[in-house]
């Protein structure tokens, strides 16, 4: 791939596909079609790296994260985690893995049990996995985790509803850290937060990555946050990766027409810049993943499409060092 040797990646995804069946009939259910949520994607994440996975609703970014966490059993492909293919493992073979991989969800309201105190929420995974059988030492660890995440250790006795959205998200992060994981999937982890609080949590995630040598898959639709938090970024559209590159390279020199449309749609908080910007919104809407367009899935909306785009599915090609694009019209 590159001249300089790279260390073996912590995670490597090869040809991953997740097709959900659509069934009809209540008594005898028949399969009448499938949703191709993820349709053959490849990428890898190095140890200590943050890879951003971006795209609009329904592009398959969340399903990709769920497959890697093995909350779904993928239809096809390999998920090599630290060299081992976990795509086909049975649930009980996954127990050890669950400790090494954690997840932070978007909505801190619905991902924290409202009837549990914050201390119990964070202690539960430690207890379940038997990492710290002694209740007193477990409580100390919970207090440590809270203060690592920028919360007063006194919060152990609070309930989630007594906290602000930013504080709740810190609890979600503390719970993910409770297992001393090495890999965390952040699924829209800062999307529900106000800008002033969002920046605090982005900084916390970056501090924790350095301090605990974490590796992140950062799934988000907010491209501005992704540019600043992620070293590399992959752009998804209708179940496929259309472009992947180092963060600044991707945002300064987007090559795929979809990436270009996506970036130009994001308004920049500066009226002088906005007054100068060329801006053409992408026409139409994202087609259904039940019956995706033939060939390149973006061709019905693409300003550059030629006849061949309807026929041949473009594969990712390396157009510049480390910059991969799935478009036959980019040269």
């Amino acid at each position: 791939m590159r001249d300089q040797p790279r260390p073996a990646p912590l995670l490597e995804v090869r040809g991953l596909a997740m097709h959900f069946p659509i069934t009809e009939g209540i008594v005898v259910s028949r399969r009448v079609g499938e949703v191709k949520a993820v349709d053959g994607i490849d990428f890898s994440i190095a140890r200590g790296e943050t890879l951003g996975l971006v795209g609009e609703s329904g592009c398959g970014k969340t399903t990709t994260g769920r497959c890697i966490l093995r909350l779904e059993k993928p239809t096809q492909g390999q998920i090599l985690y630290d060299g081992q293919d976990i795509a086909r493992l049975a649930p009980r073979e996954l127990v050890g893995l669950r400790r090494r991989m954690q997840v932070i969800f978007q909505d801190p309201y619905s991902s924290l049990n409202p009837r549990m105190k914050v201390g119990d929420i964070i202690a539960e995974p430690i207890r379940v996995h038997g990492l710290e059988p002694d209740p007193r030492r477990r409580r100390d660890k919970v207090r440590d985790l809270l203060s690592v995440c920028g919360l007063d250790p006194k919060f152990v006795d609070r309930y989630p509803h007594e906290m602000s959205g930013g504080q709740r998200q810190r609890v979600g992060i503390a719970r993910a850290l409770a297992m001393d994981p090495e890999f965390i999937v952040c699924d829209e982890a800062v999307s529900a937060l106000d800008v002033s609080i969002q920046a605090q949590v982005v900084n916390l995630l970056e501090d924790l990555r350095e301090r605990f040598h974490l590796t992140y898959l950062f799934i988000a639709h907010d491209l501005s946050v992704v540019r600043h938090l992620c070293q590399r970024v992959a752009v998804m559209y209708l179940g496929r990766i259309v472009e992947m590159a180092e963060s600044d390279e991707l945002f300064d020199h987007p090559l795929h027409p979809y990436t270009q449309a996506l970036l130009s749609a994001v308004p920049v908080p500066d009226p002088r810049v906005e007054a100068r910007r060329q801006f053409r919104p992408a026409k139409g809407e994202v087609p259904s993943p039940i019956n995706p367009p033939s060939g390149c899935v973006f061709h019905p909306r693409c300003p550059m499409a030629v006849d061949n785009c309807k026929k041949a599915r473009p594969e990712l090609r390396e157009m510049r060092p480390g910059h991969w694009v799935a478009c036959s019209e980019v040269h």
């Binding site: 969002q198 449309a261 308004p267 009226p271 810049v273 994202v286």
Partner: protein, 336 residues
């Protein structure tokens, strides 16, 4: 000529279990005919309550508009009867809300939601209303409008539902549209389509807009004038150019710095506004931003700073606005 809308010292409060929340605490601003004004703020700043107060759509109890005037085309909306107010809503003032799935009626066809407005406000007969509904859907860029008119909201995508909301809002040729987070629930490419649509239609029809949003990018792209809200008050107001390039309130400065920008190179650390948003039941007589403010001095705790002119058409509610400007200028010098 008086402005199209003049809000004077508007106050709305909610009685809650935890105490009285002054959600809107003495707000004044104007909207001229045909212009786009933004109200920007974070959750709990009172920006949506303020918009609902203009339209008198505050649920009572627990909410109550307790003071101020809302002068629309010379009339005080607060003094109108409920029946007269109903004639204003949807006819003179159109509304576009965040979530089109909850603001469209799920058991009425798209066509009926549009024709109902036309029949109610313009006394149109069924045939005229149907014809006009087709025109309106074409105007907002919905293909095959005749088929869409017979469909129900759940059969449309989120972007298309929001286009229908825009069609309903514009159906009676209003003078003003109040758009409360009109694109927050939508994907970014659809958001751009809807905002461009609203911009071109309001310009063509000469309709004024109030855009309420937390998105500073949307404000920069679409608004000529901006009101920044914090804890129920406008803390800074001015042209978009002044707010973004010469901010004089520490909250505006901090907010702009905390937003990651797509057009700037990667920096792993952002500059957050430290601290937490204020608890609105526990506000004292001082400036509500004081606990998070790096310019705060003792005077900030003694009384609430009023909005004062700091430049042409530029207002800021801060005792230290001169120091804020000086700090910005010296930061610029050292950067240059």
């Amino acid at each position: 000529m008086p402005p199209l809308l003049e809000v004077r010292e508007l106050r709305t409060e909610f009685r809650t279990g935890a105490g009285i929340v002054r959600a809107v605490d003495g707000i004044s601003y104007t909207v001229e005919a045909g212009e786009t004004v933004a109200i920007v703020g974070e959750s709990g700043s009172g920006k949506s309550v303020e918009a609902l107060s203009i339209l008198r759509l505050i649920p009572d109890p627990p909410g109550r508009i307790i003071g101020g005037e809302v002068l629309f085309a010379g009339r005080d909306l607060r003094k109108l009867s409920e029946e007269d107010m109903r004639k204003i809503r949807g006819r003179d003032i159109g509304m576009v809300f965040q979530e089109p799935m909850t603001s469209l009626n799920p058991v009425l066809t798209i066509g009926r939601q549009i024709t109902e407005t036309l029949e109610q406000h313009q006394g149109a007969d069924r045939a005229t209303a149907d014809k006009r509904a087709v025109e309106l859907l074409e105007m907002v860029g919905i293909a095959d409008p005749r088929r869409r008119l017979r469909q129900y909201p759940h059969q449309l995508s989120g972007g298309m539902r929001q286009r229908v909301m825009v069609a309903v809002a514009l159906a009676c040729n209003p003078k003003l549209i109040i758009a409360d987070e009109p694109t927050t629930a939508l994907d970014v490419t659809i958001q751009a389509q809807i905002l461009e649509l609203m911009k071109s239609l309001t310009e063509r029809m000469g309709v004024a807009q109030i855009i309420i949003t937390h998105n500073l990018g949307v404000v920069a792209r679409y608004a000529a004038r901006v009101n920044v809200m914090y804890a129920g008050r406008i803390v800074e107001a001015g042209s978009a150019e002044a707010i973004y390039h010469e901010p004089r309130h520490p909250y505006t400065v901090a907010l702009l710095k905390s937003v990651p920008r797509l057009d700037q190179p990667r920096r792993a650390r952002l500059d957050p506004v430290e601290g937490s948003p204020p608890d609105l039941t526990k506000l004292d007589g001082g400036c509500a931003f004081r606990p998070r403010c790096r310019f705060a001095v003792e005077a900030c705790g003694r009384s609430m700073p009023a909005l004062e002119t700091v430049g042409s058409g530029h207002l800021a509610a801060c005792f230290r606005s001169a120091e804020v400007a000086a700090a910005r200028d010296s930061a610029r010098e050292s950067a240059a």
